[in-house]
């Protein structure tokens, strides 16, 4: 097994949406409306990035609206991998500011968990009872594809039977200023809070028609692969993701979710390449394709 199966996917983002493929579940809530999907309990002091990540995971896992019931089957073998760079940046800055002008007494213990970058992955595991390996990648612009690659690695190494991969970035004053400080290729539409979830499993045996396989993760260094980043396949099938703004750590998962939804059920296209990254963090690509075509190719 070198590729893994993409078995579910979803997005969480609000506001004006670009044209997205049919069959792509989208939680269109603002972070502060997340309780409409997740139920109210257990959301106190959660950051916007955590709330959006939960919304995307909730839809991809196929959980009915409201607080989830007992853990799903094989919860011990369900891993979680999150990619986010700025998820908790605003919390860190706010806490440091509070201490600079006051003291530790001004820190809220309830918001304390938000000072750890792995709060998002930990919260997903806790809420859905997912007790397999739990990873957080904070690797910059290629982090989303890296998270998918780590998810595939967990499956191939026998550490998990199912991996919930989430990419998420918030939109707040800190995130906006940091995004603006990135290289020119990330500029364009303003950043927007966004999350995506892609669920990976071992490929079905025997091979099943229309199963989507993800693999061939490739590192390209500081030069985008050919075809260039901005004429990626996503443009060619009529979805322009540039209006979402720079996805940064979410980008690779967002693109994979959109591409998977587009490929599913298509007969005239058997595979495409998902690319993500920037000049300073490097570019990565992965290949997403349908089972039978992939073998014939």
């Amino acid at each position: 097994m070198t590729a893994v199966a993409v078995t579910a996917f979803a997005l969480a983002l609000s506001g004006q949406l670009p044209r997205l493929p049919d069959g792509l579940p989208v939680a269109g809530h603002l972070p502060e409306e997340a309780h409409l999907l997740l139920g109210r309990k257990g959301l106190l002091a959660k950051e916007p990035a955590t709330l959006l990540a939960l919304c995307a995971a909730h839809l991809a896992l196929g959980v009915p609206p409201g607080r989830p019931t007992p853990p799903p089957p094989s919860a011990d073998l369900t891993a979680v991998v999150v990619s986010s760079n700025l998820g908790n940046a605003h919390s860190v800055r706010t806490a440091a500011h509070a201490v600079r002008h006051g003291s530790y007494r001004d820190i809220s213990p309830l918001a304390g968990p938000n000072l750890s970058a792995n709060v998002i992955a930990g919260t997903i595991a806790l809420r859905y009872g997912l007790a397999g390996a739990n990873l957080t990648a904070c690797s910059g612009a290629a982090g989303g594809l890296q998270a998918l690659r780590l998810g595939a690695l967990l499956l191939r190494a026998g550490r998990a039977e199912r991996v919930v991969v989430v990419g998420v970035e918030p939109d707040d004053a800190t995130a906006r200023a940091l995004q603006a400080a990135r290289g020119p290729e990330s500029h364009g539409a303003p950043p927007r809070a966004q999350a995506a979830c892609v669920i990976l499993e071992a490929p079905p045996t025997p091979p099943r028609r229309n199963a989507l396989l993800l693999g061939r993760f490739t590192h390209h260094g500081s030069r985008p692969p050919d075809p260039p980043h901005h004429s990626s396949a996503l443009r060619t099938f009529g979805t322009d993701l540039s209006s979402l703004g720079p996805g940064y750590g979410a980008d690779g998962v967002v693109r994979t979710a959109v591409a998977a939804a587009w490929l599913r059920g298509r007969t005239h296209c058997s595979w495409l390449r998902v690319t993500s990254g920037d000049r300073s963090d490097g570019y990565m690509s992965a290949r997403l394709g349908q089972f039978e075509r992939r073998k014939a190719e």
């Binding site: 011990d76 530790y104 595991a125 806790l126 007790a131 904070c138």
Partner: protein, 379 residues
């Protein structure tokens, strides 16, 4: 396929690997009053810090990491040309100190400096990928597990596995907010423990497949038999013995050993009411029914502090030095063991001389993330 460690370099409050192991054997405690941060505002007055100048330089963890990587690449004679080399860096706090020091009116820090790709590439330009794994206090244990996986499935010819962390005001303030009273040192498994303190440090190891190393006639420092991972999915901050036990069993299964094969445990041992009784209980349940007299238990955070993202690999480095020297350092800061340690063999009061061949290393973190590694001596 078994992974072997062909190089290991580190930095702690005591200095490099040799200096750190000597300090551990001598039972020294590296805690000192905070250098760059205002303890009265933070509710934490002490830390285990790296003395790198009176002024607080930017990107300190990145500098320490780059230094360890440079040294380990040289020591392991890591040849990049034509080989697929991955780097996995475990960290708890990344470079968030840069976010903390970013005041109103200042230019924002470069977000690429929040993670460690640039630090690793500056010391190892040919590296194919750099993954920054922010897995709290178990981060470098997770990096070690994934490094073994990359070698096992043949996706890398060698893996640089590393960790680094410095002090951050936001995390110290949270510790100050939740502690009953400020601690001045870490006392793992001690009845009079006052809580945890952070330690600064970095660490870098090179992992390669044993077959390739043997074929080239090179020597290794130790073998990584297996690393187990789990997530409690139980509570964000309170560890769960069930989740920890799953990681221990997973490690033993991957290593192909039984509890009776373990001769030494380097425990997580944070000197907190949340960790120590739970961890000791798990050790008792895993080892006492199987092994007599059971493994020796030591821990290093009383000496070098909780080095967060580096913590697991710091323990791995100490295990390698124990294999090499046959000397097991005591648990610095442990004088009156807690009841839960009864039936176990903590190293208290002084160094124990004993040839050790197999060690188990623990690292648990916020979010319920657990990693347990099993190492073996190669000579």
């Amino acid at each position: 396929m078994t992974a072997v460690i062909t190089g290991c370099e580190l930095l702690t409050c005591f200095g490099n690997r040799q200096q750190t192991f000597a300090a551990l054997l001598a039972g020294r405690c590296g805690a000192a009053p905070l250098r760059h941060l205002d303890g009265t505002r933070l509710g934490v007055t002490h830390g285990y810090q790296i003395a790198d100048g009176n002024e607080e330089l930017p990107l300190r963890p990145s500098r320490w990491l780059a230094r360890c990587v440079t040294d380990v690449v040289r020591a392991a004679r890591l040849d990049v040309s034509g080989r697929r080399i991955s780097a996995l860096v475990g960290t708890g706090l990344r470079e968030i100190r840069g976010l903390e020091r970013w005041g109103p009116g200042d230019l924002p820090p470069d977000p690429a400096g929040l993670h460690f790709a640039e630090a690793v590439r500056s010391a190892l330009p040919g590296v194919a990928e750099v993954v920054t794994l922010a897995n709290a206090c178990a981060a470098s244990g997770h990096a070690l597990a994934l490094a073994c996986d990359l070698l096992a499935i043949g996706e890398a010819d060698a893996v640089l596995v590393a960790g680094c962390d410095g002090l951050a005001a936001s995390m110290l303030a949270l510790m100050g907010r939740t502690a009953a009273a400020p601690a001045e040192r870490v006392s793992p498994f001690d009845r009079d423990r006052k809580g945890v303190l952070l330690g600064e440090g970095a660490v870098a190891l090179v992992l390669e497949p044993e077959e390739a190393v043997v074929a080239e006639g090179r020597t290794a420092l130790g073998r990584v038999l297996g690393v187990g991972l789990s997530c409690d999915a139980h509570h964000m901050t309170a560890p769960d013995p069930v989740g920890i036990t799953r990681a221990v069993r997973d490690a033993h299964r991957r290593a192909g050993i039984t509890p009776g094969d373990v001769e030494l445990v380097i425990a997580h041992g944070t000197g907190t009411a949340l960790n120590d009784p739970n961890e000791a209980t798990v050790l008792r349940e895993v080892f006492t029914p199987h092994a007599s007299p059971g493994p020796l238990v030591t821990a290093i955070k009383g000496a070098i502090g909780h080095t967060s993202g580096s913590a697991v690999l710091h323990s791995v480095a100490v295990a390698l030095d124990i294999f090499r020297t046959g000397r097991v350092p005591p648990i610095t800061g442990l004088h009156r063991p807690i009841d839960e340690l009864r039936g176990l063999r903590p190293v208290v009061g002084g160094t124990v001389t004993a040839a050790m061949r197999r060690a188990q290393v623990h690292g648990f973190g916020f979010g319920g993330v657990n990693s347990v590694g099993v190492l073996e001596a190669t000579s």
